[in-house]
Structures are given as structure tokens and as C-alpha cells.
């Protein structure tokens, strides 16, 4: 049985009279112990909302979320608070996510105290956790403002991991960091995962970071997962025009790796009262009338490779042509 099961998750924000913003639209996925799922999308894709809904920091409108046998979606507030020791969150903004008036030690100590660990037992665990994320004892009494961004993010990670959660939502944890700090944090997260078997949902717009850490990648567009496959497969061959455009826009730090000239024009449309059609319809270069009839479901088009494009085989063919030409 999967560690985490998310079925038909939907989140609708009412933004005005008769105006519903569907931030997350019927999203399903599972997560195994020790596994990382990368959730990729541009702003407005709903990836952050998915992470918040899974942790029930935002109440989902519909859908089922289960951690092992435990139905997260049905817990009352007290049960939910108790479960928070088993599921955690790391934030995008390293400084903003730390209380400026708590020291490093106090910040990491609090989750243990809240989950009923006695004072005497906490001290060694907090110390060990802080050392594990690479913070030396002399910064334990520092306030967040006195740390570098990389150190602040390490505190955030220590706070999330100190209760030994089974899964952690990593919400763009490296997007505000410099390249070297980014690499350090990714390495740290990977090393911790191999020791503890913690599962991660890694949310990011940065495909290069996602590819480094994820076992599987799900690409989101306008609240939908449009493509979902193991990392190696999806980075090599996409089966959805949006994924292909997204990957071709990634600028790899290698001047010889010419970007695929495949471009999707325009910008992501609004998610308010979307029509029941393919979310990419307005921008899609290979759209056809049938794409307007319904939201295409995510189906397994090749082994372990899911796509929500009716014309996935045309995407495959044109990618092969482009490769042949190059």
C-alpha cells in the first residue's frame, strides 16, 4: 500500500459572485516510502495549493487524502494537529518562514514540545537534528536574521524533520537560493532521504532542480496534472505539448545543448470558471475540435507514462522528427 494516496483532489476558491477559481482540478497521485515526487508547473498551475491541501493547511473542496491507513481528509482539528508530527512542510522563503523572535534552537525545539516529547529527551534530538543539517553549535542561539539564506533554510529543514515525519512537502525550497546553496540543500535533502526513508513531494518551477531530486515528475497546468512519469523518461521524451514546451524552455547550463525551438505562445489563462475542455486548448499548437468536448483524462499512454493529451502520439512523432533533424 502506498504511503500517501491522493484521489480526485479539487480545490475551488470562490473569488466573486458566480466566480469560482479552480486552483486544483481533480488531481490524483500516490507516494511511496522513501520516494520523491516532483510537482512542476508555472505560477498559477496549482502546485503549491496541492501541497497545502495534502497537509490540510488549506481545506480541500473535494477528494480523498490518506496517509497509510489514516484518512487525512476526515480528521478533526485535534487529530490533524497530532498527525502533523508525521507530515511536514518546508517553505520557499527561508527567512520569512522563520519566526524572527525565536532562536535557531527554539525553532527546532518547538515541534517536539508540541508533540509531547519531554524536555530532557528533546535536547539531544534537537542538537542531533541541527548537526545533521550542518549547523554548528555556535549558531544555536542565533536569531534568523543573523544567518545566511542557506543556514536559514537548513533551520527550516531541521524544524520539518525533527519529528521524523513520514513525508514532507518541499515547497520550492531552493528557489530563493544561490546556485551553490541550492546544490548544498538538494544534496542534504537527498542524503537525509536515503538515511530515513522520508518521502518528499518536491514542488518547483525549476525543472533542473526537480530532475536532480525526484524519482517521478508530475507536470501541472492550470490545476491539472497533464503528464506524469518517472524522471528519466519524462526528461527524455514528453507526451504532452505543454510539457514539451516547458522542457524546451529550460536553459541548461551548457552552450552546446541547444534548446528545442518548440514554443507555446501566450501566457497561462485564468483559472476562474474554466470551460470543460482541455486546459491547454487556447494555446495548443496541435489542438483539434475534439479537445473542446471534455477535459481529457490522464491515461497511461506508454508503460508508467501518463499523459492527458489526446494527440500524445503526435507529440512523440514530432519530437522524434526534431531529434532526427538536429
Amino acid at each position: 500500500m502506498a504511503l500517501l494516496t491522493v484521489e480526485n483532489l479539487t480545490k475551488i476558491f470562490t473569488v466573486g459572485k458566480d466566480e469560482d477559481l479552480i486552483a486544483v482540478n481533480n488531481v490524483s497521485f500516490t507516494l511511496e516510502r522513501g520516494e520523491t515526487l516532483g510537482l512542476v508547473g508555472e505560477s498559477g498551475s496549482g502546485k503549491t495549493t496541492v501541497g497545502r491541501c495534502v497537509l490540510r493547511l488549506i481545506e480541500p473542496t473535494e477528494g480523498r487524502i490518506a496517509l497509510g491507513n489514516q484518512e487525512i481528509s476526515e480528521l478533526d482539528p485535534a487529530g490533524l494537529r497530532a498527525l502533523r508530527a508525521r507530515m511536514q512542510l518546508v517553505f520557499q522563503d527561508p527567512f520569512g518562514s522563520l519566526n524572527p523572535r525565536l532562536t535557531v534552537y527554539q525553532t527546532v525545539d518547538e515541534p517536539l514540545a508540541l508533540h509531547g516529547v519531554g524536555r530532557a529527551d528533546r535536547r539531544p534530538r534537537v542538537g542531533a537534528m541541527l548537526e545533521r543539517v550542518g549547523l554548528s553549535t555556535d549558531v544555536f542561539n542565533y536569531y534568523p536574521a543573523d544567518l545566511t539564506a542557506s543556514e536559514q533554510q537548513r533551520v527550516g529543514i531541521a524544524r520539518a524533520l525533527v519529528t521524523e515525519p513520514e513525508f514532507v512537502v518541499l515547497d520550492e525550497p531552493t528557489s530563493m537560493l544561490d546556485p551553490s546553496a541550492r546544490a548544498e540543500i538538494l544534496d542534504l535533502l537527498k542524503a537525509i532521504q536515503s538515511e530515513t526513508e522520508t518521502a518528499y513531494i518536491f514542488i518547483s518551477h525549476d525543472l533542473t532542480s526537480v530532475a536532480k531530486i525526484s524519482h517521478r515528475i508530475a507536470i501541472m497546468y492550470l490545476g491539472h496534472i497533464v503528464e506524469h512519469a518517472p524522471t528519466d523518461i519524462i526528461m527524455e521524451s514528453q507526451r504532452h505539448p505543454y510539457s514539451r514546451a516547458l522542457l524546451s524552455a529550460v536553459l541548461f547550463p551548457d552552450p552546446h545543448r541547444r534548446p528545442d525551438p518548440y514554443v507555446i505562445e501566450g501566457e497561462i489563462p485564468t483559472a476562474i470558471n474554466p470551460k470543460p475542455e482541455c486546459p491547454l486548448y487556447g494555446r495548443c499548437p496541435i489542438r483539434e475540435d475534439a479537445c473542446r468536448e471534455a477535459v481529457p483524462p490522464l491515461v497511461e499512454v506508454e508503460a508508467v507514462h501518463y499523459s492527458a493529451c489526446r494527440r500524445w502520439d503526435d507529440v512523440a512523432a514530432s519530437m522524434a522528427d526534431a531529434r532526427g533533424a538536429a
Binding site: E42, S43, R81, P179, T208, L251
Partner: protein, 576 residues
């Protein structure tokens, strides 16, 4: 740490504020010890010495009861300040938790919570809509003028002030990520409010306290002045002014004058004390510590081994450069600490050069130095910056400004924040065009439409009436590009032009910039932290670290065979 901060703030204060601060503590001293220092009894009438003018014995004269006014002025702060302070403390103790609770209800959402919070806030508005003084007077009149009642009345009228400021502070603080983090680790809402959010709202509260204390003292004196407050013979400034006031007309000015001055000075010094507290509480003061550490890191070059000079490379077939920077150095004015040293660059027409580096490497300082936009605390210490035949460092401000708009264009990060939010896109372009050319409004509009078309904005005629907040980030960056490239400049300096944009939009903007610049023969200097951008959009790349260029080379060669360990390190960090 706290003491360090206080000391640093004190040293930075202007002299007069320091004087007021001393006076403030003088009043506090008198509040405690004043009655013991009085040379004469302060409450015993002495008919033989009524209304004597100021003299050696009675420096402030005597009042209608023959009591020494100086003695009474020394003793009076105890009454006024104590009432003011206690009343304020009471309003803080009641108002602060109420503010937190109302804010928590409000942020929770849901019809019931919102209705509760709304009702409560309207109720406070009703209390606040009464003239405070009259309201306090009525309260005292109804319940009697004992000191306790005066305190309660003053506390009552001031409580809403604290509820409101705490509520609004908490409402904005609970939106901050650290409050969500507190929820994510399993805190209850109430604990988030009081343990995590409230301490961060306290600076505002403390500042408000000092303002309110001054006001409460004034209110105490005012109530006593109209006879609704502290009763004679207790030494109290308001009552003293009242009893002295009736002798003003017949020339016996001292009985009201000295207590009046004392009251004014007390309120004034409390107010200024509040000002000073604001400065002590400024987050900027806290950040200093980090800056020092950063500066230190910069000085020592971080953890990286110090490597002497950039490997000199000859860039093939370099023609006459558009921009030539030699030996450029920039340092802080006061500490003389170097932020840039020995910068050499040469950029030829139509080419593009990337400047890459991590935060703190000095790349933004370089941009500012090139554009003569250095903040006053930084100054160029050496070297030259030549643009064609002009020496940019010695050029006067006016000429530089003209140069910046027509020949050297700049694009800065976060386009949206640089567009005036109150001006439509059309007005912005039109006024920029008309500032440089004598053209009619109609012509300017036609040109504006062409410009928007050029940067790939759909429906340009309609977009003219759009305001910056109606534009997406990508669109705003396109508008900035239109403004920058309006006059086909010879040089474009783009500092993180796509920071904050999504990858697909980033690609659109970068492609567009390249196409337009190549058409116009514009040389580009592209400052970025993203090595991917440098790899694909630049002919040459310079790597900066700790204020120096550690390596500069043609793009392919730099990525294929980096020669500096730092370049190698950066590449290792980003390679998949």
C-alpha cells in the same frame, strides 16, 4: 545584543533628541523622587505668602494658597505621570489580547467569525467616535472623581487604540510564512496568535504606548483643569494651571505659567521618547549584524581560496568596444571597504556579455557604477568607464541622464515595480517619447502602438489604456523593454531581466530581447545569477566573485574548459 542595538541607536541620534531623552529620564526621576525633593510642604496652605512673584526663596513664586509652586511642580509628576502610565498599562493589558483574539477570529473566516469580528470593531468605533475628552469627563462625572475612576476612564477611552493596532498588525502577520509554519508543525491557533505572532507585533505596541502615555497625561491634566479630575490640594499640573489661570489677567502669570511649561515638557519628552523607541525597534537595526557577517565574508572572500588574478584571455577579433571598463574599483565611503576591485571589461557593438555571480558577488554594484547610480555611501575609487568616446565617470549628471535614456538603456529586475502604478502604459510611453522629441500627442500614440507591437504585445492599441497592475509579469517586462529600446540604444544593460518570470515567459522575453537588440545593433550586458541564461544568450561570460572578475572568456570555452576553481565550482553546482 539588545544593549548593543540600543547603544548603536543612541549614538546615531541627533543631539537634541539625546537632550530630550535625558529630560525624559529626568521626569521619570521626579515621578519617583519628586515629592521628597520639594523644599517646602506641597499641600499646606500658608496665608502669609499668597501669590508672591518668583524670587530666590520661591523660584517659581507661590500660588493662591501661599504654597511654593516650585515644590508643587516637583511633586506633581507623581500624580500625572502615574495616572497616565497606569491607565495606559491597563489599556495595553486589555486591548492587546482582545486585538489578537479579534484578528484570529477574522482570519479564520467563516460567516460566524466574521460577524463577531465585524460587530466588535464597529463597537470600538462607536466608543472612539465620541470626543475622548468629553467622554472621559462624563465617565468621571457619573462614577465620581477618585484616582481609580480617572484611571479607568482614561484606560477605557484608550483601549480601542490598542485593540485596533494589534488587530491590524496580527492580521498581516498571520499571513506571513512563519505563522503558517507554526500551524504546519502543529500549533493551535491561539498559540500561534500569542506565542508566534504577538511578539512580532510588540514593537508597534511599544511605540504606541509612549504616544498614548503622553496623551493620557494630557487627559489627566485636562480633566483636573475642568475640575473633573484630581482635586486640590493634591499637587497636579492641570489643577494648578486652573487655579493659576484666574490670576493671569491681573498680571500674576507665574501661578499658571510654570505648571503649564512643566506639562508641555512632559508630554513632549514622552512623545520624542516614542520616536526614539521606533528607531530602536526598527528591523534595520537587527539586520546590521548579518550585514557585518556578510561584509566579513566579502572581505575574506568567503570560504573560497583567494586566487590572485583573473586568467587573462585574448578574445578573438575584438573591434572598437562600445563599453570599456578598466581598473574599476568601488568602495564604501565610510569604511573604505572595497566592493569591486580591478574590473576590466570590453564589449563590442552588437555583442552580448553575461556577468554571472552569486548574491554578494558585486554584480549589482557594477551595474550601478556603470550607470552612475551608486548610492551616496558608495564611491568609485579607481579606474575608468568609457562608452564610445565618453568617459562615463566624469560626465556631469545631466549629460549622463540624457545618455541613459537615448544611448545606454537599462532594464532592471522586477519590471512591475518600476512602472508607475498610477500611469497607464500609453501615457508612460507617450511622455517618454515627447520628452525627447517634438511630436504631437497623436504621433506619439501611433509610435507607442508600434513600440508595443515590436515587443510582441497582442492588441497594442487596447493595451495603451492598461495600468501596470493589469499586466502580467511577462507583459510588464515587455513594456519595460519597449521603453528601453525606444531609441535603438547602442548599449543595453539588463540586470536580472527575467527574475521572477516563469520559464516559458522567460524564454519569450530573452528571445525577444536578443532579436530586437540584434536588429538595432545594440550591445548587451546581461547580469544574471542563472548560468543557463548566460550559456545561451551571451557571446562572452564574466564570472564574478567577491567583487572581482575571476574569469572571463568566450561562452563555449568558459563552459567547456573553466580555468578558475570558482567557475568550476559554480558549474558543478548547476549541472544535472
Amino acid at each position: 545584543m539588545v544593549w548593543l542595538r540600543i547603544m548603536r541607536t543612541l549614538r546615531a541620534l541627533p543631539k537634541w533628541q539625546l537632550a530630550v531623552l535625558v529630560m525624559f529620564f529626568g521626569w521619570i526621576f521626579l515621578t519617583i523622587f519628586g515629592p521628597y525633593l520639594a523644599p517646602f510642604p506641597t499641600e499646606v496652605a500658608e496665608p502669609t505668602t499668597r501669590l508672591l512673584p518668583p524670587s530666590g526663596t520661591y523660584p517659581f513664586g507661590t500660588d493662591e494658597n501661599g504654597i511654593d509652586i516650585f515644590s508643587r511642580v516637583l511633586a506633581a509628576p507623581r500624580t500625572d505621570v502615574v495616572i497616565g502610565v497606569v491607565a495606559t498599562a491597563l489599556s495595553v493589558v486589555i486591548g492587546t489580547p482582545l486585538g489578537v483574539i479579534v484578528a484570529l477570529y477574522e482570519s479564520r473566516g467563516g460567516a460566524g467569525s466574521t460577524a463577531f469580528a465585524e460587530t466588535f470593531m464597529r463597537l470600538l468605533e462607536v466608543i472612539q467616535s465620541f470626543p475622548v475628552f468629553v467622554f472621559a469627563m462624563v465617565l468621571v462625572a457619573v462614577f465620581g472623581g477618585s484616582v481609580t475612576n480617572i484611571i479607568i476612564a482614561i484606560a477605557f477611552v484608550n483601549t480601542p487604540v490598542f485593540v485596533r493596532i494589534v488587530r491590524s498588525d496580527v492580521l498581516s502577520l498571520v499571513q506571513r510564512p512563519f505563522a503558517e509554519a507554526a500551524r504546519a508543525v502543529g500549533n493551535r491557533e491561539v498559540r500561534i496568535g500569542f506565542r508566534h505572532v504577538l511578539p512580532n507585533a510588540l514593537p508597534t505596541v511599544i511605540v504606541q504606548v509612549s504616544v498614548t502615555v503622553g496623551f493620557a497625561i494630557l487627559l489627566t491634566a485636562g480633566l483636573s483643569f475642568v475640575g473633573a479630575g484630581v482635586k486640590p490640594p493634591t499637587p497636579e499640573l492641570g489643577a494648578m494651571i486652573a487655579s493659576g489661570a484666574k490670576y493671569l489677567e491681573i498680571g500674576q502669570w507665574w501661578a499658571a505659567f510654570f505648571p503649564g511649561i512643566a506639562l508641555g515638557l512632559i508630554v513632549f519628552s514622552f512623545g520624542i521618547f516614542g520616536e526614539i523607541m521606533t528607531q530602536v525597534m526598527e528591523p534595520r537595526a537587527v539586520r546590521r549584524e548579518t550585514d557585518r557577517r556578510r561584509e566579513h565574508a566579502l572581505e575574506t572572500g568567503g570560504d573560497e581560496p583567494e586566487v590572485p588574478d583573473a586568467p587573462t584571455v585574448t578574445l578573438s577579433h575584438m573591434s572598437e568596444p562600445v563599453l570599456a571598463v578598466e581598473h574599476l574599483g568601488v568602495a564604501a565611503v565610510d569604511s573604505r571597504q572595497a566592493l569591486l576591485s580591478e574590473i576590466h571589461l570590453a564589449l563590442e557593438a552588437g555583442h552580448s556579455m553575461g556577468i554571472v555571480g552569486e548574491s554578494g558577488s558585486g554584480k549589482s554594484v557594477l551595474v550601478k557604477a556603470l550607470l552612475q547610480l551608486l548610492p551616496p555611501e558608495l564611491a568609485v575609487t579607481s579606474g575608468s568607464v568609457r562608452y564610445l568616446d565618453h568617459d562615463l565617470l566624469t560626465m556631469n549628471k545631466g549629460a549622463m541622464r540624457a545618455m541613459r535614456t537615448t544611448q545606454i538603456a537599462a532594464i532592471l529586475p522586477n519590471a512591475k515595480s518600476q512602472l508607475n502604478p498610477l500611469t497607464s502604459v500609453g501615457d508612460m510611453l507617450r511622455s517618454a517619447l515627447q520628452a525627447h522629441e517634438k511630436i504631437s500627442a497623436k504621433q506619439a500614440e501611433v509610435r507607442s502602438i508600434q513600440l508595443l507591437e515590436m515587443v510582441g504585445i497582442v492588441d497594442p492599441a487596447q493595451r495603451l489604456s492598461a495600468f501596470p497592475h493589469e499586466l502580467s509579469g511577462g507583459m510588464a517586462q515587455r513594456v519595460c523593454l519597449a521603453m528601453a529600446l525606444m531609441y535603438r540604444p547602442k548599449l543595453l544593460i539588463a540586470d536580472e531581466p527575467t527574475a521572477g518570470l516563469d520559464v516559458t515567459i522567460q524564454r519569450q522575453v530573452l528571445d525577444l530581447t536578443r532579436t530586437l537588440a540584434e536588429d538595432a545593433g545594440t550591445a548587451r550586458l546581461l547580469i544574471t545569477g542563472d548560468l543557463g541564461i548566460a550559456a545561451h544568450y551571451c557571446d562572452t561570460v564574466a564570472v564574478m566573485q567577491a567583487g572581482r572578475i575571476v574569469e572571463i572568456d568566450e561562452t563555449e570555452r568558459l563552459f567547456d574548459t573553466p580555468r578558475h576553481p570558482y567557475t568550476q565550482h559554480l558549474l558543478d553546482c548547476v549541472r544535472v
